[in-house]
Symmetry: C2
Subunit: 433 residues, 2 copies
């Protein structure tokens, strides 16, 4: 069942490239349907939300109202089992503390000619957080999306969560309460994204929409991008584990399967220089698959997308393979982990050493679990405080510093044929030019 | 010709909202055409580039070759007039110095329980810079896009620029030489974006594409987003000037028209509490329009999208109007500029005081002139060093710190029904769980 690729085999590069390039998510052709749903919400506001929610979620919002009251969130929090409450509290505090270190500094300075430059960071005015309904409705995701926004200083945080047939995950409402969210609506799908982007009678629009969702939600986010900001469109989850001969095959197998259980399209890859570890891990995977609750999903993910890459020299070969895969999660389960770190450029998050299972990072490590998938770690970063702020640049000239910059400005404006640009400097320095 | 809106009039809010919401760019329906061009480049590589370039640019790339040699760039630099050379040099140095201050710091620390956290910033492996051909081909844009990439440490910078009928702006090639770009191809349009994203026989793919372009280029960037990173899709340019009675109407008129000359869809807005200044500025606009080289374009922009907003109390009313407009450029031509600054949240760049015409920021101020348009300053920032880097988060636990985080991790994993996640912690802490 396990796919083994050996770097010494002549077709290794070709088969590795196929692994790297392989598209795992199914393309969904929902563009036109989403377009007309967004148009309906723009035209008919709450009425359209009520209709779509009736049709897709079998819920009568005209009866329940759109909003979930803060009291309901608080009641959900109060109703949680004490150990879950404590765990969420630990997660909240660790995420909050870690993200505080990401608050960027403003800058203002005068340069050699007396020109003042700088920049100023300000929080976004408002953010909409999409939370999926049903089984993929995770309280940890509420914290991971909401806490950095709170740390950034976003004054208005709005959550939307569909409640199909009235069903809602109390842990999600409790997490919203814990994160300080007070404005929540029981809507989902493309219609919820449209409401957040354009507003309705009940819902004021936001300036950015974040959070995971199905193909309809992803397409709706794509379509409203520009009207509002959006976060990355998340693909299926991934882990790459780099392990030496000393790594524990049972631990590694558990880590590979923790990723695989998310989704049949998830991908787990082991890179090792130990044939014995490779064999033992593959066996441990099979043994654990047989007993794990989400074994059917994990088995399909492992069979379709999993792989063991066997290399001759871990320190020399692993970093290049990792950089090509650019995985969302990277585990370095090897003694030489720290030495390998500088050679690794493309990864969403790195979990260092034998005692750092990726799952801790999903919940209580403190760093964010919203990370770039599908090789996007080559050009983008995990969610953080900066995603909830924007930078305004500042320039201030005096009569004297303007005089010193006038000639090159006017020369360049003239070279670009923009005489109006030239003139705006000339009138200040030469009188009428 | 000038549109005056007075904040004391009963329909002010309604007319102001129309100004804020008005779409200025024309929608272009080029989706399908762009999709098939991208597919052609993916299938047939260089051959497709040669065909499209023959058709759209009337150039035979099979004869000239795709690349513009570094020697050609150097020759262009050597051939520039001395004052233009000096101006570009000044611009380069000031942009470089300012952007150096944006290099982000790495972080690594151990927290109270001995867990190590942190993040590391690394430059992107490669970036493609799109430069339009013809009249909108600006050397300043080459510097503004390339210098932050160089400062970030991006090792491979690729430029594409169409050369219709062989025509190319020597100042653009010279700016590329100055910025240290050595890999340049004479291609443009959607085909150039496809080549950068997917690669051809001659062109290796990049991981991010930046730079302005027409509707075809913008749509191509949208379609390849995800395969590669992209910068913002730029809309028409904008300026808002906030001026008090002491501002000079001739200077203000020149600033408003410097924006308007870019494009008939550009927007220039004056906000003032001085009826006399409002009148005088409108008159000065008409006078300058009559004599400026790009007067036809500027006149249409001013007539269709320009406005003078007359308020009763500048300090109280202007910041709210500015925040709603979220302009790309904001000039604070008033004595109380510094005092007004904290109340302004949404602006791409702020030019402070009477002696800071926006045009200086376009060229030699040092800050970046690639800024969010069409109200995107509500949720995004101007181009900077961070756009050419990505952040990888780090987590490292010891046996002891893992033990302390095991319980909350396992509780949350269980609450989310992810027993594989739970297991990856359990095997490390409880033996077989």
């Amino acid at each position: 069942m396990t796919l083994f690729l050996r770097s010494t085999e002549p077709d290794f590069q070709q088969r590795f490239d196929a692994l790297v390039q392989g598209r795992r998510d199914q393309p969904h052709d929902v563009q036109d349907a989403v377009r007309s749903m967004i148009a309906a919400v723009r035209e008919r506001g709450d009425a359209a939300l009520i209709e779509f929610t009736e049709r897709f979620d079998h819920m009568n919002l005209a009866e329940t109202g759109l909003a979930i009251a803060p009291e309901e969130l608080e009641a959900a929090w109060n109703g949680l089992a004490p150990d879950l409450k404590a765990a969420l509290q630990t997660a909240y505090e660790r995420i909050e503390k870690h993200h505080r270190r990401q608050i960027p500094a403003d800058d203002r300075y005068a340069d050699a000619i007396g020109a003042e430059l700088g920049h100023r960071w300000t929080p976004l005015d408002s953010v909409g957080l999409y939370v999926p309904g049903g089984k993929a409705s995770y309280p940890s995701s509420v914290l991971m999306n909401a806490v950095p926004a709170k740390v950034a200083g976003v004054p208005r945080l709005v959550m939307v969560v569909p409640t199909p047939k009235g069903e809602v995950n109390p842990a999600v409402l409790a997490a919203a309460h814990l994160a300080g969210i007070r404005e929540v609506y029981r809507i989902g799908g493309a219609q919820a994204v449209a409401a957040l982007a354009y507003g309705t009678e009940t819902i004021k629009p936001v300036v950015k929409i974040v959070g995971p969702g199905n193909a309809w939600v992803a397409e709706a986010k794509r379509q409203v991008f520009g009207v509002v900001g959006i976060d990355m469109i998340a693909g299926p989850s991934e882990v790459v584990a780099v392990a030496d001969a000393k790594a524990d095959p049972v631990w590694l197998a558990a880590d590979l399967l923790a990723q695989a259980e998310h989704d049949e399209a998830a991908q787990s890859i082991l890179i090792t220089d130990s044939p014995a570890l490779a064999e033992a891990t593959a066996k441990a995977v099979d043994a654990q698959l047989a007993v794990m609750p989400r074994g059917v999903i994990a088995a399909k993910s492992w069979a379709d997308h999993g792989a063991v890459l066997l290399v001759s020299d871990l320190a020399k070969e692993a970093p290049a393979l990792v950089n090509a895969l650019a995985p969302e999660h990277l585990e370095l389960a090897c003694d030489e982990a720290e030495a390998m770190l500088p050679a690794i450029r493309n990864a969403g998050a790195i979990f260092i050493g034998h005692f750092t299972p990726e799952a801790v990072g999903d919940y209580v490590g403190g760093s964010n679990h919203v990370l770039p998938t599908s090789r996007a770690a080559r050009f983008s970063s995990g969610l953080g405080v900066l995603d909830y702020m924007k930078r305004t640049s500042l320039l201030k000239l005096s009569r004297e510093s303007l005089a010193l910059l006038a000639a090159p400005t006017m020369t360049l404006a003239e070279a670009e044929g923009l005489f109006g640009h030239r003139q705006s400097v000339a009138v200040r320095t030469n009188g009428s030019d």
